[in-house]
């Protein structure tokens, strides 16, 4: 049973974290991160070739989490697989016991470590969500019956701070129509914009898990601003970290403030500690 689904649909505040599978077959580093995060989180996202760079598959890594008693959120991007492979992996994921699914478009290959790769994008994230819903109903995207369907709790990404908002709102509505039940947001810096997003989504029956990114150093801020798509750190927040005597400590304090605000606004928080995994307890204010 998906605890994520039960809690969100039951109105309980959830905490999710995130781990990246290794570039290789040694899972020790991922498990070390999992061991720090899992005691504080209800579920952990497992990324899919994140940053368009090679990693062990989310499918295998998600299963590895499950075997250790940790609830994964299996991520699937549209960048690396066509519709046959995506559907095949959805069936595989369900057969392996993965119940939470997050569908995303995926970064452009030119941003990653295989810049010469062909970006597939046979489907987009909305279409993939719709296909997952169809599999939950027992059929594939060609409307053919499956020998055993799926029962995914389907999530998608949301970008409350990326203007223009009218376009974002239309996307949110499209995704909910496609069967998305929960959203995980890009990192939030402006709580008013998060509020605006939650108010738009709640009447439509979906849940919002708000992202918190721990800006542990000036270098991370530069990286976010120059390399991460769809995200900019506001000057006031960047200055606060840059001027701090201990930037990591300031970042943890800032993240804890953000988590406290999010508790009053959203249905959950998604913490991205960027390596400061050991600080998750402080970031969550002792809860989680």
């Amino acid at each position: 049973m998906s605890r994520l689904r039960d809690m969100l649909e039951g109105g309980e505040f959830v905490v999710t974290g995130e781990v990246a599978p290794p570039r290789g077959t040694d899972l020790a580093g991922m498990h070390a991160a999992v061991d720090l995060l899992a005691p504080h989180c209800h579920a952990l996202n497992v990324t899919d070739n994140q940053g368009a760079s090679l990693h062990l598959s989310s499918l295998a890594a998600s299963k590895a989490l499950l075997e250790r008693g940790i609830e994964p959120i299996f991520q699937q991007t549209c960048r690396d697989r066509n519709r046959l492979a995506l559907q095949s992996d959805l069936l595989a994921a369900w057969s392996l016991g993965l119940e939470n699914l997050l569908v995303v478009t995926g970064d452009d290959p030119r941003a990653g470590d295989h810049p010469h790769a062909k970006g597939v994008f046979d489907l987009d994230s909305t279409q993939l969500a719709s296909i997952a819903r169809g599999m939950n109903e027992g059929h594939d995207m060609m409307d053919r019956d499956l020998k055993g369907g799926t029962g995914f709790y389907v999530g998608a990404a949301m970008f409350p701070e990326a203007e223009p908002w009218d376009v974002q709102l239309a996307r949110i509505e499209q995704k909910i129509e496609a069967g998305v039940r929960f959203f995980q947001t890009q990192a939030i810096f402006d709580m008013d914009k998060l509020q605006r997003a939650v108010e738009a989504v709640r009447p439509l029956g979906a849940k919002v898990i708000a992202g918190v990114l721990v800006l542990k150093s000036p270098r991370v801020i530069d990286f976010v601003n120059s390399k991460l798509a769809g995200l900019m750190v506001p000057d006031a927040i960047a200055d606060r970290i840059r001027r701090a005597h201990d930037p990591a400590d300031a970042a943890i304090a800032l993240a804890a403030e953000q988590v406290a605000s999010i508790r009053d606004i959203a249905d959950g928080v998604h913490v991205m500690p960027l390596g400061l995994d050991a600080a998750i307890g402080r970031i969550l204010g002792g809860a989680g």
Binding site: D108, D124, Q174
Partner: protein, 220 residues
Amino acid sequence: MIITKPRDWARIEENLTSIGARRVFLMGCGQCATVAHTGGEKELEETAARLEAGGYEVTGWTVGEVTCHLNGTKLESRKHQAEIDSADAVLVLACGAGVQTTADAIAKPVFPGLESLFLGTVIRNGIFEERCQTCGDCVLDKTAGICPVTTCPKGLLNGPCGGMWNGMCEVLTDRECTHVRIRHRLEEQGRTTRRTLAPKDFSTALKPGGVNIRESGGSR
């Protein structure tokens, strides 16, 4: 039109050297390659001069009227039969379609002198943009005349993706996001902006394409 760019000179020389060619005939194109300034009279003269400076003999050159037209290129070749007969190779300053009609029309080794890039829109003289991928499954009726398959770098039918920021594209950061443009143009025209497009039918884009309007067969 088909937009082309000059092929690396080193690759052209490598091609000629591979068969020991010293005498070369040049074929240009009076259509796209002339407009793209890659295969018109001026470019053929420049290429001839460059070959001669490199020790090659240019036996002749011509700008075919429509080099991708097989019969036209056969006729054009016949007009220059002697020059072609005395050449070791033919270098074609046209798109890949023109290279292939030339290779069908002339029984000599034929090499490409250009790289074929895309089906282009002429924005202004010398400025070309790719707007259509000739996919055979047009969605422009639903996207306010803006093709997301071509102009979104990810080719997403439904967007924007998570990389859009302040209305701008994640990949081409100096360009407005295609999906923002589509939605805003639909809105301006009072059309629905809430439609989710279904997955695309890629079977219509299977290669090679072929059309025969002389018989009832139609396209394949």
